[in-house]
C-alpha cells in the first residue's frame, strides 16, 4: 500500500510502485498489442533516414502541427482593446477551446462569448444567434465594443456579418451607434496569425470608417502581433518609449488584460488600447509591426491610407533591437537615448561574458514565422548555429527570408528551413540530424523526451511553466533574459552531464 499520510505520492511517483507495475503487467495481457520486439523495431525505424523521407513526403496527414486557427488570433487581438468583448460567431465549442488555450498559457482568465450555433442555425443561418448573442453580451457584460470573429460553421454556411449586425441594430439588440468590429476568420485558411491580422484590420476598418488621413500627429503606432510574451514585451516597449520620450500607441495591448492582480476583485476587462488611440492612429507618423506575418493585410490597409509602415520579425537581440530603435528614431526624429545605448552595451557585455559557452552550440527552432526569424537571428549573434528552422504556418516568402537571413552569417551555414512542416517532421529531422538544443513551445517537450534534446521554452504556448510571459524577450533587456534562459539550460545540462563522474563539475564556469 503505497500511500502514507505523511508523504503522499501523487501520479508522478505512485505508479512507479510495484503494486501498479504489476497491475500494468496484468493489463497488458488484455491489450493484445504488438510484441516488445516489434515495438522496439518500429521505435528504431522512426529514427531512420528512410522514415524521415517518408515523413517529409506526407501530403495529406498532419501530425503535431505548431499552429492554431484564425479565431484564436482574433480573440487574442480583441482583448487588447479597452473594454472589448471577444465574440465568436459559430459553434460554442470553439470559444471554449480558445478560452482554455489562452488560460493555460497565461494562467489568466480569458473572457469571450459565442453565438452557440447548433444544427438549426447550420441549416437556417446564424442570424438569430447573432442578434440574441449581441443583445445578451451587450446587456450582461457592458463592453465598450464587441469584436465579432467567425468560426468554421459561420464561414462555411456563408453568414453575412455586415448584414446580420445591421439587423441586430435594427432590432435594437444593440444601440445604433454601438461599435461592432468584424473579422472573417475561417479556421481552414491560414492560422492564428492571420486571425490576429484580420481582427486588427477589422478594428481599423471600423474606427477609421469614412475617415481619411489628416494632419500628421507625431506618434507611432506599434502592432505587437500575436505574442505569448505580450505581458512582458508590451510593457518593455512602453518603457522604451518612455526612455525615448516618444508618443507611441500599442495597437492591441493585452499586457494588463493578461496580468490582472489577485486583490479580491475579478476584472473582466483591464487596460488595453483605447479607442481614442485607435481613432487617432490614422494620423500617426507611421505604423510599425513587430511581426510582419501577423499583420500583412493590416499593413496594406494602413499603407492604402497613405501612412508609412515598417515591419519587423519579432526582433530579439542586438540587431533586432538596433533596427527597431533606429526606425523609431528615424520616424520621430528623436535621437536614441543614452540610457538605451547603455542597455545595449550591457547586453553586448553579457553576450561577451558568456560567449565561450554559447559559441558553436546548435539549435533547432520552431514556432510562428516571425519568432523563428527573430530567434534565429539572435542565436547567430550569440555564435550559435541554427539547424532546423520550422514554422508550420510559414510559407514560401518566409522560407526565402529565412534563407537570406542564414546567408548573412557564417553561423547560418547549417540552417535548413522547413516551411509548412509539423513537429512529427521535426522529430525525423532531429533524429537524423540532431542538434544541441531545441527552442520552441511546450509542444516541444515530446521531442525532448523522445530525442533527448533539451527544450528551451521561448514561445507560445507555454503550458507547463508559469509566468515566463511576464518577462520580456524584446529590447536589450529582453535579449538579456533570453540569453540567460538559454545559458541556464546549457549550464544546467553541463552540470547534469558532469555530475556523474565529477570531472568537469566545476564550481566556476
Amino acid at each position: 500500500m503505497p500511500q502514507v499520510a505523511d508523504k503522499i505520492k501523487d501520479h508522478a511517483r505512485l505508479f512507479n510502485e510495484p503494486e501498479y507495475q504489476e497491475l500494468f503487467e496484468r493489463k497488458k495481457a488484455f491489450e493484445c498489442g504488438a510484441s516488445d520486439e516489434v515495438v522496439a523495431k518500429q521505435s528504431d525505424y522512426i529514427n531512420s533516414w528512410e522514415y524521415r523521407e517518408k515523413n517529409l513526403a506526407r501530403q495529406a496527414l498532419t501530425v503535431n502541427p505548431a499552429k492554431a486557427c484564425q479565431p484564436l488570433g482574433a480573440m487574442f487581438a480583441s482583448v487588447g482593446f479597452e473594454k472589448t468583448l471577444a465574440f465568436n460567431h459559430g459553434s460554442q465549442g470553439c470559444t471554449a477551446y480558445f478560452r482554455s488555450h489562452l488560460a493555460r498559457h497565461f494562467k489568466e482568465p480569458c473572457a469571450a462569448v459565442s453565438t452557440s450555433m447548433t444544427e438549426d442555425a447550420a441549416v437556417f443561418g446564424g442570424l438569430n444567434n447573432l442578434i440574441d448573442g449581441l443583445q445578451n453580451a451587450y446587456t450582461v457584460y457592458k463592453p465598450k465594443v464587441i469584436a465579432v470573429s467567425t468560426t468554421c460553421i459561420a464561414e462555411v454556411i456563408g453568414d453575412d456579418l455586415t448584414a446580420f449586425i445591421q439587423n441586430a441594430r435594427t432590432k435594437e439588440a444593440i444601440p445604433q451607434d454601438f461599435p461592432v468590429v468584424k473579422a472573417n476568420t475561417p479556421s481552414f485558411v491560414g492560422s492564428h496569425i492571420n486571425g490576429y491580422d484580420a481582427l486588427i484590420k477589422g478594428v481599423f476598418t471600423c474606427f477609421w470608417e469614412g475617415k481619411e488621413r489628416g494632419e500628421v500627429t507625431p506618434r507611432v503606432n506599434i502592432i505587437p502581433g500575436f505574442d505569448g510574451y505580450a505581458v512582458g514585451n508590451n510593457r518593455e516597449l512602453k518603457r522604451i518609449f518612455a526612455e525615448f520620450g516618444i508618443d507611441a500607441a500599442i495597437i492591441s495591448d493585452v499586457s494588463d488584460q493578461f496580468d490582472t492582480p489577485t486583490d479580491g476583485k475579478y476584472r473582466m476587462f483591464d487596460g488595453g488600447t483605447t479607442y481614442q488611440q485607435v481613432e487617432e492612429a490614422i494620423n500617426a507618423s507611421a505604423t510599425i509591426s513587430m511581426q510582419k506575418y501577423c499583420t500583412e493585410k493590416t499593413l496594406d490597409f494602413v499603407k492604402e491610407k497613405g501612412q508609412p509602415v515598417h515591419a519587423f520579425h519579432y526582433p530579439i537581440g542586438i540587431k533586432g533591437t538596433d533596427d527597431l530603435l533606429m526606425t523609431l528614431s528615424e520616424i520621430t526624429g528623436k535621437p536614441i537615448p543614452e540610457s538605451l545605448e547603455m542597455e545595449r552595451g550591457r547586453l553586448v557585455d553579457a553576450m561577451a561574458d558568456s560567449s565561450n559557452w554559447l559559441h558553436g552550440k546548435t539549435y533547432s527552432i520552431f514556432g510562428d514565422p516571425d519568432f523563428v526569424y527573430g530567434m534565429a537571428q539572435f542565436i547567430m549573434e550569440l555564435g550559435g548555429e541554427p539547424v532546423h528552422l520550422l514554422a508550420t504556418n510559414g510559407g514560401k516568402e518566409w522560407e526565402a527570408e529565412m534563407k537570406a537571413l542564414l546567408a548573412t552569417s557564417p553561423y547560418g551555414a547549417k540552417g535548413q528551413v522547413w516551411p509548412g512542416k509539423d513537429l512529427w517532421a521535426m522529430r525525423s529531422l532531429l533524429a537524423t540530424e540532431p542538434c544541441d538544443f531545441l527552442i520552441g513551445s511546450s509542444y516541444g517537450k515530446y521531442l525532448e523526451k523522445d530525442l533527448g534534446i533539451p527544450l528551451i521554452r521561448l514561445t507560445f504556448p507555454i503550458f507547463d511553466r508559469h509566468h515566463h510571459h511576464r518577462f520580456p524577450t524584446w529590447g536589450y533587456q529582453g535579449g538579456l533574459r533570453v540569453l540567460v534562459t538559454i545559458l541556464d539550460k546549457i549550464l544546467d545540462e553541463l552540470d547534469r552531464e558532469t555530475m556523474k563522474t565529477g570531472i568537469s563539475f566545476d564550481l566556476v564556469r
Binding site: L14, E31, S91, S100, P109
Partner: protein, 485 residues
C-alpha cells in the same frame, strides 16, 4: 437549511437573473434553483441549447466524442478531421494516462493528428484527403490497431461521405476505421458527442467483434468485469482497478482510459459492467445489457464512504469470495484512511465548496468532500440530462444551490455572494475565481494532480484540498495598508 438562508439564496438567484435581458432571464430561470429536500429532482431544466452571448462554459460534440470517449483509446489513431484548431486545442489536455505505450509507435494519445483542412478541402470536399491520410497513417504508424475519424464542423456542412471512405479504406487496411459524426454544431453540448461516440463504438467495434467472435483465445472467468466511463485522468482508472483486482475480480478492459481496441472488442465478454461516468457511457452499457444481457452497475470511487459502499454493492453481485474480498480491501485501507482523515479533516472541517463541472463529478465528489468535513454549498452540471439531476438528489442537502449550464457571469456572482472556501470547476473558471481571493481546484484535470479515484486517490484528494484551501496566499490578497480602509 434554515428558511432565512434559503430565502437569501433565492433572492440572490433573482438578483442575478435580473441583469439579463428579460427573454434570457426567463430562459435561465428554469436552470437555476435552490434545492428543496426531499424532492426527487433538483428542480432545474437541462440538456437545452445554451443562450448565445452569455459565455457558457460548455464545449461541443467533438469535445465529447474525441476529447472524452475515443481519444483515450491508445492504440488507435484518432484523426481530428477538419481544420487544425479543434485537435490543437484538445491536444494532450485531458491527462488520459497510458501504460506501456511508445508515442508514435503503438500509442497516439498525446499526439495531434489532423487533416488540417485548407480552403480547397472545403470547396472540393475532404474525402480524397481522408483517403490519402489513411495510407499515410499506415506508412507512418503501421502498428496502429485502427483509426477514428472525428468530424469537425465543416465536414457535416460540405456533404463529405466519411462513412464511405472509412468503409472502403477499412477493407483495404483490414483494421477498424470508425467515422464519428461529432461535428461541433450537433446537439447542445459535449453530451451528444458522448452519445454519438458510444453509438459508433457499438457499431464499428463492439457488435462487429461479437459477431465475428474476434478473439477466440479469450478465456473467460466468472469474475470478469469491465470498467466503463473511467478516462484515467491522472491515473484514476488504475487506482480503481487495483481495488477491483484486490477484491478478486478480473478486470478485462478499461473503457476508455488507457484502453485498447482489444479491450473494446472483448468488452462484451464481461460478466458485469462497472460504470463510473454514467453520463458519457451509459448508452453502450444499456446496449450491452439489451443485446448481450450484461448487467451494469454504477459505482463511485471518490472518498472512503462511497468507495466502501460501491465495493460492497459490486460484491453483492458476486459470490462470497468476492464479498469477503471487498471487506478485506476495505479493512486493509481503513488505517490509511483514518490517518488521512486525522491529518486533514481538522484542517478542512466546516469549509464550503461550490462545484461546477461536467459528467459525474458534480454529484460523485460530494461525499468525498463530506468525508473531509467539507460541505457542498452549490453544484451544477455543464451538460447533464434529467437523469443526472435525479441522481444528484441522493447527494445534496436541502438548500443547495443548483445551476445547469451556468454562464460565467452567474458563477462569478454566486461566488462573490456565497464566498465559498473552495470552488471546484474548470480551467476557464480557475483564474478569475482566484482573483476574487477564493481558493480553486480544477475538477476536470484534477489541477494536474490525481489520481482521485480509489483509496490511493483519496489520499491525494485530501492533500490537494488542504493545500488549495489552506495555502497562505489566500490571506494575502489585501494589502495590509488597505486593511483599515
Amino acid at each position: 437549511m434554515d428558511a432565512e438562508t434559503k430565502a437569501a439564496r433565492k433572492q440572490l438567484v433573482e438578483e442575478v437573473l435580473a441583469e439579463y435581458p428579460a427573454k434570457t432571464a426567463k430562459k435561465r430561470a428554469k436552470h437555476i434553483n435552490v434545492y428543496e429536500s426531499p424532492n426527487p429532482d433538483c428542480g432545474v431544466k437541462s440538456n437545452i441549447k445554451s443562450i448565445p452571448g452569455v459565455m457558457t462554459v460548455r464545449g461541443c460534440a467533438y469535445a465529447g466524442a474525441k476529447g472524452v470517449v475515443w481519444g483515450p483509446i491508445k492504440d488507435m489513431v484518432h484523426i481530428s478531421h477538419g481544420p487544425v484548431g479543434c485537435g490543437q486545442y484538445s491536444w494532450a489536455q485531458r491527462r488520459n494516462y497510458v501504460s506501456g505505450g511508445v508515442m508514435g509507435v503503438n500509442s497516439w494519445v498525446t499526439m495531434q493528428i489532423t487533416s488540417d483542412f485548407q480552403e480547397k478541402d472545403i470547396v472540393f470536399g475532404g474525402d480524397k484527403k481522408l483517403d490519402k491520410m489513411v495510407d499515410e497513417i499506415e506508412q507512418m504508424f503501421p502498428l496502429n490497431k485502427g483509426i477514428s475519424v472525428m468530424s469537425e464542423c465543416p465536414v457535416g456542412l460540405i456533404g463529405d461521405d466519411i462513412e464511405a471512405v472509412s468503409k472502403r479504406k477499412s477493407k483495404e487496411i483490414n483494421k477498424v476505421i470508425a467515422p464519428v459524426r461529432c461535428e461541433g454544431f450537433r446537439g447542445v453540448s459535449q453530451s451528444l458527442g458522448h452519445h454519438i461516440a458510444n453509438d459508433v463504438m457499438r457499431d464499428y467495434i463492439v457488435d462487429k467483434a461479437v459477431a465475428k467472435n474476434a478473439d477466440q483465445h479469450f478465456e473467460s472467468t466468472p469474475y470478469d468485469v469491465l470498467i466503463v466511463g473511467d478516462y484515467n485522468i491522472g491515473g484514476d482508472a488504475w487506482a480503481s482497478r487495483i481495488l477491483l483486482e484486490e477484491m478478486g475480480l478480473r478486470v478485462i478492459g478499461q473503457w476508455s482510459g488507457d484502453g485498447s481496441v482489444a479491450e473494446v472488442e472483448n468488452g462484451p465478454r464481461a460478466k458485469l459492467n462497472l460504470i463510473h461516468c454514467y453520463r458519457s457511457m451509459n448508452y453502450i452499457c444499456r446496449h450491452m445489457e439489451e443485446k448481450y444481457g450484461i448487467p451494469w452497475i454504477e459505482y463511485n470511487f471518490f472518498g472512503p464512504s462511497q468507495i466502501a459502499k460501491s465495493l460492497r454493492a459490486i460484491a453483492t453481485l458476486f459470490d462470497e469470495k468476492i464479498q469477503e474480498g471487498a471487506e478485506r480491501v476495505i479493512a486493509k485501507y481503513q488505517p490509511m484512511v483514518d490517518a488521512i482523515l486525522a491529518k486533514y479533516k481538522p484542517r478542512l472541517d466546516g469549509k464550503k465548496i461550490m462545484i461546477y463541472v461536467g459528467g459525474l463529478r458534480p454529484r460523485h465528489v460530494s461525499d468525498a468532500y463530506s468525508d473531509l468535513g467539507i460541505e457542498v454549498t452549490a453544484t451544477g452540471y455543464e451538460f447533464a440530462h434529467n437523469d443526472d439531476y435525479q441522481r444528484t438528489t441522493h447527494y445534496i442537502k436541502d438548500g443547495t444551490l443548483v445551476y445547469d449550464d451556468a454562464s460565467e457571469f452567474e458563477l462569478e456572482r454566486f461566488v462573490q455572494a456565497l464566498r465559498p472556501d473552495l470552488v471546484g470547476s474548470g480551467i476557464k473558471e480557475k483564474y478569475g475565481t482566484q482573483k476574487m481571493g477564493v481558493p480553486f481546484r480544477q475538477l476536470h484535470s484534477w489541477d494536474y494532480s490525481g489520481p482521485y479515484h480509489g483509496y490511493d486517490g483519496f489520499a491525494i484528494f485530501a492533500r490537494d484540498m488542504d493545500l488549495a484551501v489552506n495555502n497562505p496566499v489566500w490571506k494575502m490578497h489585501k494589502a495590509p495598508w488597505k486593511k483599515g480602509a
